[in-house]
Every structure is written in structure tokens, then in C-alpha cells.
């Protein structure tokens, strides 16, 4: 997990997305325990309130659940839920910036599509 203070994104979002990535790649399997707020805060040298804010985003989406006195766990079905969420965000996160840059450079939609197809066939 890579937290980069120089990035445009707030740190709490980076924490949430880092955990999401971990869940998607299988580093944090469903029903497994994730590190504590203290572990995240100490490791990334961030205020515990920031780590909590990031993790609470995932708790609100039922991706992480808390067991009182035990710790935090990845919910069952979290992978499926995250895949769906990332798919929904795919257009905003990737396609629109790709189109913006293509427009700036004068690359036609046909050329972009051809490039995408070339990438997929690799």
C-alpha cells in the first residue's frame, strides 16, 4: 500500500483506496482481519483520525466491519461489491481523462479505439 502525501487526493481517501486495492488483489481476503487504526497511523505517520475517516468510508459501504474489542474485518462479498464499484467509476476515473488528453493532442476517437484494441490484443 502506497500513501503519497504529495498526491492531489486527500490521505483518508488514499487509505480507503489502498485497503480496497488490498481486498481486490487478495492481500486482505474476505473475513480476514485488517491492520488496526494504530498500525495504519504509525506505519504511514498519519493522524489516527485520518486513518479512521478512511476506514469509516469502507465501513459505511459495508466493505469492512468492526467487531467490538477484536478488530476490523473484510466483509463477505466485499470483492464483488468493490469490483462493481470500480467498474461504475471506470468511466469517470479513466475514460474522461483519456478523452481530455486525446482532445488536447488532436487524436481522433478512431485512433483511440485502435490503440485500446492494440493494448487488449497484447
Amino acid at each position: 500500500m502506497n500513501i503519497n502525501p504529495g498526491q492531489d487526493k486527500p490521505i483518508f481517501i488514499q487509505i480507503a483506496e489502498g485497503i480496497e486495492d488490498g481486498i481486490l488483489t487478495g492481500a486482505f481476503p474476505e473475513e480476514s482481519q485488517i491492520p488496526s487504526i494504530t498500525e495504519f497511523s504509525v506505519n504511514y505517520k498519519i493522524n489516527p483520525a485520518t486513518a479512521l475517516k478512511g476506514i469509516n468510508l469502507l465501513v459505511d459501504e459495508n466493505i469492512i466491519y468492526k467487531k467490538r474489542g477484536v478488530g476490523m474485518f473484510v466483509a463477505e462479498g466485499a470483492v464483488q461489491k468493490l469490483r462493481k464499484k470500480r467498474q461504475d467509476q471506470f468511466y469517470t476515473n479513466y475514460i474522461s481523462s483519456l478523452i481530455d488528453e486525446a482532445r488536447r493532442l488532436g487524436i481522433s476517437s478512431e485512433d483511440v479505439i485502435a490503440m485500446i484494441e492494440r493494448g487488449f490484443s497484447k
Binding site: 486527500p10 505517520k45 485520518t50
Partner: protein, 286 residues
């Protein structure tokens, strides 16, 4: 009420006004960054809060009690700064023992453990320590004292990158286990930007900003584009937005804005977030 209240504090030395009608609250259990340029009044403020200097006007209260000449209030606070309060010939390990007699909550075993982690030789005399190790010595005291309000005035002065990293980690670990109020005054803003929850910016003895780090950053932005586009955008901003600085290079202009998040930007302009250091530089220039 828990917390420290600083009310209408003014302080002047000879011909300089160090603090001008400063009013602030430090809430219990939060980490504050006290940021200001050299001579802005940070150290004077911390010295007044901990009763080492006296204000000309105003008062400080700690958990509802006036702090001036009040032992019960003073025992709740601990300030570390460049001042050495121990006899010069005293050894580090003896200083730990002495601290324990003043602050019964001081954890000597923890202080010894930290000394090992920082490789601080406890048999050395305090005066013989290098600048970096003087800072380390003071930080160890501050991390082991276990009082509700701890003030760190330039805690990483002279520390190498590894020791700075270790200090921040230990501070956060300590804070996570048992939250206390930590006020960190530092010039290394980037390093503390994510450690602190609240930001206080002081300039020429006056408080410029006093709000949570998240709210200050969420409501600040940099807008860039061609000079004419940027200028007409600035003219359209709501009254609460404040342009705190700008850069022009060729036909391109960037403006730094406080009090507006830069959403709903016209085509052609680019928005980027502002980090705490940039914000600080723009706010405290001139």
C-alpha cells in the same frame, strides 16, 4: 471544561509586540500544528501558556483553572524547547529520575526504552550531547511524561531523517494508545502535515488561521490558466473566497485561493489542491 483556553493574550518586549490579543482553545486529545515564521510569536505563546513567561494582558486556563502560578494546572502541562531546565552537569539517567519527582506520571522504564531506540547514551551529561541528541533527550522526556498537554517547540531540530521518522511514529503510537493534546511548533511543515489534526497559523503575533487541517485544505485550491481567464474567474468568486497569492509566468497565471474549493470551474482552467506548506508560504509571505 477540559482543554486549554488562551484568552486575549498580549505580550511585548521592549519595542516589539510579540503577541497581539491572541485567543485560542486547545481541545483535549488532539494534535495541533503551531505554524509560523521565525519571530512570529510561537515560542512566546508556548512559554506563556506554560507559565514560563508572563503576558502583559490576558489569561490562560487549563481544564477551567487559571494557569498562572497554579501548580495543579502546571502539572498537567509539559513544554520542551531549546531551554535546558536541568543542571548542566547532570547525566541523562539522573534527569529522568528528577523528572519523575516532579511528574509522578513520568514513565522511567519507557524513557529508558526510548533511549535505547534512539541510541541515546544515558550515562552522558546533558550538556555534552550534540544538538540532535539534545532534541532527542527532550523528546524522550515529552513522550514519557504522560500529562494531558504536551508542547513540542521545534522537536526535530538537528535530528537526522531516520530519527525524525522514529519520533513521528512514536508520537503517533503514544497518542493512539492514550490520546493527549500535543502542540507541535515546527518549520518542517510537510513532515507534520499529516500528523496534525488542527492547524494554527500565527503571523507577527496574530492568529491568521485556526481550524482543522482537513477543512482548511478542502476549502483551498490553486487555479491555473491564461491570465485573462484566471482574472475573470477570480472576479466571479464569492465574497468568502480570498486570493492569498498568485504567480505569473509568461501568459500563464496561478492564483492561490482560500475559502473556496474551486468546484464548477469554467472550461480551460485547471484546479489543483493546495498542500499545507504552499498555503503557509502564501499566507505568511510579506
Amino acid at each position: 471544561m477540559r482543554g486549554i483556553e488562551v484568552k486575549n493574550i498580549s505580550k511585548s518586549f521592549k519595542d516589539t509586540q510579540a503577541l497581539r490579543n491572541v485567543t485560542l482553545t486547545f481541545e483535549a486529545g488532539k494534535i495541533y500544528g503551531l505554524l509560523g515564521r521565525n519571530g512570529a510569536g510561537k515560542s512566546t505563546l508556548l512559554n506563556i501558556i506554560s507559565n514560563r513567561k508572563y503576558p502583559n494582558e490576558g489569561y490562560v486556563s487549563v481544564d477551567g483553572m487559571p494557569s498562572a502560578e497554579n501548580d495543579e494546572a502546571l502539572r498537567k502541562m509539559f513544554l520542551i524547547n531549546e531551554m535546558n531546565l536541568y543542571p548542566e552537569s547532570m547525566k541523562v539517567k539522573d534527569a529522568f529520575k528528577v523528572t519523575k519527582t516532579f511528574y509522578s506520571s513520568f514513565d522511567e522504564a519507557y524513557a529508558l526504552k526510548l533511549s535505547e531506540m534512539f541510541e541515546l547514551n544515558i550515562k552522558k551529561k546533558i550538556k555534552s550531547l550534540s544538538t540532535g541528541y539534545q532534541s532527542i533527550f527532550r523528546n524522550i522526556l515529552a513522550l514519557s511524561v504522560n500529562v494531558p498537554y504536551v508542547f513540542f517547540d521545534e522537536p526535530v531540530l538537528g535530528l537526522d531523517a531516520y530519527h525524525r521518522d522514529l519520533f513521528y511514529k512514536l508520537l503517533i503510537e503514544k497518542y493512539s494508545e492514550d490520546p493527549f493534546t500535543a502542540v507541535i511548533s515546527t518549520h518542517l511543515i510537510e513532515e507534520v502535515a499529516n500528523v496534525i489534526e488542527e492547524v494554527i497559523i500565527i503571523k507577527k503575533g496574530e492568529i491568521l488561521k485556526n481550524q482543522s487541517r482537513d477543512s482548511i485544505l478542502e476549502n483551498s485550491c490553486t487555479i491555473s490558466g491564461t491570465v485573462s481567464q484566471v482574472d475573470s474567474y477570480v472576479a466571479s468568486l464569492p465574497a468568502r473566497a480570498e486570493v492569498i497569492g498568485s504567480d505569473v509566468i509568461g501568459g500563464l497565471k496561478s492564483v492561490y485561493i482560500c475559502g473556496d474549493d474551486g468546484a464548477r470551474l469554467p472550461e480551460g482552467l485547471e484546479r489543483s489542491t493546495m498542500d499545507l506548506q504552499k498555503l503557509f508560504i502564501q499566507l505568511t509571505s510579506m
